[in-house]
């Protein structure tokens, strides 16, 4: 039996439908009063802001980077790896890099610069500045760096924490402001980065969706 893939936006869409129904019911019912309507309308308004129709998802694999100016969501899954989402709010474009390891200095094989924090972050900012054709201030959001097996810290070498620290340093070096982050912990995350508005939907192992 094939299990269909999870859709990150579904809980939000469901809640929108429920709120809309609630609002309609209360309007149609003869006993509805202004007092009852007020909170329901305000709730539906708030949620409707996030209720944009599902947009096309573009997957970013491990040690890959993608930069987009089309209205798409860049999607990846991270455990100990780190997903860096950099957004250009003026030109409405953004890019995501899936970083595996903190530093390229420890490796002999330099043929995959997008694996490492110290080489992937400059590559991503460079590609975005080229795409936007301007030197506007970029902003970043970072997700990942979990320690999936906390009882076995020595085995996994705590790469997650080192990745997070290395990305922070690389962003400072590139002059990119870090707006938000969801890092650490001991569960993996699914990242969906909307390149138009710069919002990042993060779904954790307990299937809870958080917007940063």
């Amino acid at each position: 039996m094939q299990i269909p893939p999870f859709q990150p936006l579904s809980p939000i869409n469901k809640s929108v439908v429920n709120f809309t129904k609630m609002a309609q019911n209360s309007v149609n019912s003869p006993t509805a009063t202004k007092k009852h309507l007020a909170p329901q309308f305000s709730q539906s308004k708030v949620v409707q802001n996030h209720a944009a129709p599902p947009i096309e998802e573009v997957r970013v694999n491990m040690a890959e980077m993608k930069v987009e100016d089309r209205p798409v969501a860049l999607v990846t899954n991270v455990g100990s790896c780190v997903a860096v989402c950099i957004h250009d709010s003026i030109n409405k474009c953004g890019g995501l890099a899936h970083i595996m390891l903190p530093s390229s200095t420890v490796t002999r094989n330099k043929s995959f610069p997008l694996k490492y924090a110290d080489t992937a972050v400059p590559a991503l900012t460079g590609a975005l500045r080229k795409l936007g054709k301007s030197s506007v201030a970029l902003s970043a959001k970072m997700v990942g760096g979990a320690n999936m097996f906390p009882n076995m810290r020595s085995i996994t070498l705590n790469v997650g924490e080192k990745n997070v620290e290395a990305v922070r340093q690389a962003l400072v070096a590139e002059g990119v402001r870090l707006l938000a982050e969801d890092v650490g912990g001991n569960c993996g995350r699914r990242v969906s980065f909307n390149v138009v508005d710069g919002s990042v939907h993060v779904r954790n192992g307990r299937r809870e969706v958080k917007i940063i």
Partner: protein, 241 residues
């Protein structure tokens, strides 16, 4: 020096790796590792069959050698919810072992093992404990078969259960592999209950040291047995004369 070529369409990728004079590109070495894995997987499937009292179907095991960062792209199971039991070997050489089950299948298996009327009725803690136990049994029977065959000690650490998406679980092991070598070697043995359509898999990420050790010991074993076979043939030949 490392060179590698990968082909995503093929289930087995060709690669050439040279580390400290030891070459992993020889078909014989990969064949030895695949054979050892098959012995282990057969043993693990037998233990599973005994637990369920039903036939277990196993696929021909596979061995993949490809750069670690291409593994998620290769499997294409990015968001599939997975229940995995992880065990790590300690002793003569390191190795990561995983029992991977799709989350729904894990629920069904746990319900069968606890004699629960339906998968929905099972307590999550009981389910986790049951699957962890099943993982321990399968991984240990896999290892004990290999250890007996090769004549080395393979002692696993206590098991650890994790429930997450496929990519999120596997990336930890790929990082470990990436730090050690440019090419990951993955052994994969798929199995299926005769009454189910969902496959489970035993996945092994042997370290470079363990690969060397297993190959050396197997080669010794092959040589010994080969000479013994010749002697036996000579003996028969002499007798018939």
């Amino acid at each position: 020096m490392t060179e590698s070529t990968t082909d995503h369409s093929a289930s087995k990728t060709k690669s050439v790796t040279e580390t400290d004079g030891w070459t992993a590109d020889k078909d014989l070495d990969l064949g030895i590792l695949l054979e050892l894995g098959s012995i282990g997987a057969g043993n693990a499937a037998t233990s599973l069959s005994e637990i369920f009292q039903e036939p277990i179907l196993i696929e021909v095991p596979k061995i993949h050698t490809l750069p670690p960062h291409l593994v998620p792209k290769f499997y294409q199971k990015h968001d599939t919810p997975i229940t995995a039991v992880y065990m790590q070997l300690r002793g003569e050489a390191d190795c990561d072992m995983l029992l991977v089950l799709e989350a729904e299948e894990a629920k069904k298996i746990a319900a069968m093992m606890t004699m629960s009327p339906s998968p929905e009725d099972i307590d999550p803690e009981m389910e986790a404990s049951t699957i962890e136990e099943l993982g321990s049994i399968m991984i240990c029977s896999f290892l004990s078969a290999i250890a007996d065959f090769v004549g080395i000690k393979l002692v696993p650490m206590p098991s650890h259960l994790v429930i997450d998406s496929f990519d999120e679980i596997i990336d930890n092991f790929l990082l470990t592999q990436d730090l050690a070598s440019d090419v990951a070697l993955i052994f994969e043995g798929c199995f299926r209950r005769s009454s189910s359509e969902t496959k489970g898999a035993l996945v092994m990420f042997p370290s470079v040291e363990l690969q060397k050790l297993l190959i050396e010991k197997s080669r010794q074993w092959l040589k010994q047995d080969y000479s013994a076979l010749i002697k036996a043939n000579q003996y028969t030949f002499c007798r018939s004369e």
